[in-house]
């Protein structure tokens, strides 16, 4: 067991898998020169694995994502880095029209075993085009998988699974979580895709949270427990395919649900979770579902406004208390 931050955990997964499987290679913008990607995740990888296996690309998202698709079709296992999830617009066709659909529209004749790693989320005053949470867009695409770890342990295990998965996977890395420390087992272990994790057991209410919001929910839960409120925090870890069973089991136990996500509330990832629970477990709910998410605006630059944009601990506590009132 080692203590490391999420950035280091991601890198250790890359190193492990590239050592194990010669078909795995990395490409992306600025992933080679110091610091190794914008957040230093890929630092030193080219020194270890060489220029053939760790490739810097020009600023060409269509080409870098599309080349990943073509390489995956031709037998390799690319791990592409999209510098910021906000840049997906430039290369979106290659993801949603090509990678996602090829197996189906080619009648099962093709596999596209690729991973797109990308950073997301606000909190660094990076502005409207560098701070978004776009998981709802990706969840809406049949044919891909969407992974969103909240701890270094999950980050390493999920990335190993994602690289080994024969489907295209979008792997989301919250910028603030890069610096978050956690315990990570040495060597090989995987966290299965499509399996949620109950991060905290509780009995009074369920919080389903994603990404950075898992951490804020756990912090809120600790404060709430001092007031005698027992919160269960469920982290889906994979958004597509969504682990409905773990979420429903929790709701059937606590009878109350708050969903906390950083993406915009309207048509956001919380909407799918909410609709699913309402469809399949409404008789178990003692109170309306509460969704706590970002307001319907671009992410503002000002740190004061950005902090107001992102759901915070106080809001989570208030939402829990509201739900408990029934």
């Amino acid at each position: 067991m080692a203590t490391m931050n999420m950035s280091q955990a991601i890198k250790s997964a890359l190193v492990f898998e590239m050592e194990r499987d010669p078909d795995v290679f990395c490409l992306g913008e600025d992933i080679v020169p110091d610091p190794g990607g914008v957040f230093g995740v890929t630092e030193g990888l080219q020194d270890q694995f060489g220029k053939n296996r760790v490739r810097d690309t020009p600023i060409s998202e269509s080409a870098l994502i599309g080349a990943s698709v073509g390489a995956a079709l031709s037998g390799l296992r690319p791990v592409a880095e999209l510098m910021f999830v906000d840049f997906i617009g430039v290369g979106m066709d290659q993801l949603f029209n090509q990678a996602a659909k090829m197996r189906y529209m080619f009648g099962g004749r093709a596999n596209v075993p690729m991973v797109i790693r990308t950073c997301c989320g606000a909190g660094m005053a990076a502005g409207p085009q560098h701070s978004q949470s776009l998981e709802a867009w990706f969840m809406h695409i049949p044919g891909i998988k969407v992974v969103y770890p909240s701890t270094p342990h999950d980050a390493k295990g999920l990335l190993l699974s994602a690289i080994r998965d024969d489907n295209p996977v979008v792997y989301l890395e919250h910028k603030e979580l890069y610096y978050k420390d956690g315990e990570v087992p040495e060597g090989e272990y995987t966290v299965p895709l499509g399996k949620a994790d109950v991060k905290l057991q509780g009995t009074d209410i369920t919080i389903v949270a994603t990404g950075l919001m898992v951490n804020r929910s756990l912090a809120a839960a600790e404060k709430l427990s001092a007031e005698g409120i027992s919160v269960e925090v469920v982290d889906p870890r994979t958004l597509l395919p969504l682990d409905k069973d773990t979420i429903l089991d929790s709701v059937k136990k606590t009878h109350k649900l708050v969903i906390v996500t950083e993406d915009v509330k309207f048509a956001g990832s919380s909407a799918e979770i909410s609709a699913m629970v309402a469809e399949e477990a409404i008789e178990y709910l003692d109170a309306p579902i509460i969704r706590l998410a970002a307001p319907f605006c671009p992410v503002p630059f000002s740190p004061v406004l950005e902090a107001a944009f992102m759901p915070g601990e106080e809001q989570i506590i208030a939402s829990v208390k509201k739900a408990l009132q029934g």
Partner: protein, 322 residues
């Protein structure tokens, strides 16, 4: 260059097969027998036959919405293609793709494509794989004058040039990007001029002259297999059919089309003349080839008609690899 008689006959047969397949599709669509959007490559057969004539099975191609010719020239099976166009379960894509999504990984066909400009980045990826695995396989990226204006072709040509990827960018300049004629959609006459912007060698050929296309392709393949980086070949041709079957073609006059259908411009007629003049084939050989091809296409139609429809139970099959 010296081309064997066998090769010449083979490529002629390929052109005839493409033509007959496309005319067949035109008839079947007009009669309402098959449905969906279809984009025919009538008049452009020499490019598919000439370029693919130099490729091996392990070489890759990326194609586009007007891709039946490429698929056939690369070895695609006409019965599976036809069944796919009939939307049947036994088609190449189990009826789930249609005309624009036929692919055959075993033959290095990375698919026709419904997105103009969708292929070039994929071609870079396949070429990257060859380079990575240290094989001498090349990737041909077919695209049209319309696609030449998509951002993806710029990104792809640049990426291929900086990484010296084994890609042959074949631009089929048929005079039209959908309904827009070339003179309106770009300021240049020769798309090959753009290659110099990537320090990439380029050649311009008469795309309706099979021998010229084959010769240029042979040279390109030698260069690219040798690891010297990507090249471009611009093939000048003309799109005889409309953009899609059913296109009223209000944007062009019928006289221009008729001119290109004449024997002295049509790629198949031109090559037939050479085969006869050089005594590589007799009139009787040619007739036999046409009969065999027609029979093959007819059989593929019968096969397609006889195949079952896909089952609704298969709607969710192949969304993911399990």
């Amino acid at each position: 260059m010296r081309i064997s008689n066998k090769k010449m006959i083979e490529m002629y047969s390929t052109m005839v097969k493409i033509r007959r397949f496309e005319e067949s599709i035109e008839e079947l669509t007009a009669s309402g027998t098959i449905t969906g959007f279809v984009h025919l490559c009538i008049g452009q057969e020499a490019i598919a036959a000439g370029i693919c004539g130099v490729l091996k099975d392990t070489d890759y191609i990326t194609s586009h919405h007007r891709g039946h010719g490429h698929l056939i020239a690369k070895g695609g099976k006409t019965d599976l293609m036809m069944a796919e166009l009939f939307a049947k379960q036994s088609g190449y894509c189990k009826g789930k793709g249609g005309s624009m999504h036929i692919a055959d990984m075993d033959l290095g066909i990375l698919g026709a494509n419904g997105i103009v400009g969708g292929g070039p980045p994929l071609a870079c990826g396949a070429a990257l794989a060859s380079q990575y695995k240290n094989t001498d396989d090349v990737t041909v990226c077919f695209f049209g004058d319309g696609a030449a204006n998509e951002g993806t072709i710029h990104e792809s040509m640049n990426l291929a040039s900086i990484w010296s990827l084994p890609v042959i960018f074949v631009v089929e300049n048929n005079g039209y990007g959908e309904f827009m004629s070339q003179k309106d959609h770009m300021r240049i006459e020769n798309i090959a001029d753009r290659a110099s912007g990537y320090n990439m060698p380029a050649e311009i050929v008469d795309g309706n002259d099979l021998i010229a296309v084959f010769t240029a392709a042979s040279k390109a393949v030698r260069q690219v297999r040798g690891g010297k980086g990507p090249v471009m070949i611009e093939c000048k041709t003309f799109r005889i059919a409309g953009h899609f079957v059913g296109d009223p073609e209000s944007y062009r006059d019928k006289q221009t089309v008729k001119k290109w259908q004449k024997a002295e411009k049509d790629p198949i007629s031109r090559f037939e003349k050479i085969l006869l003049e050089k005594k590589i084939a007799t009139k009787s050989n040619i007739k036999k080839i046409k009969q065999e091809v027609h029979a093959e296409i007819e059989q593929s139609v019968e096969f397609a008609k006889s195949c079952p429809e896909p089952s609704t139970e298969d709607l969710l099959e192949d969304v993911y690899v399990d």
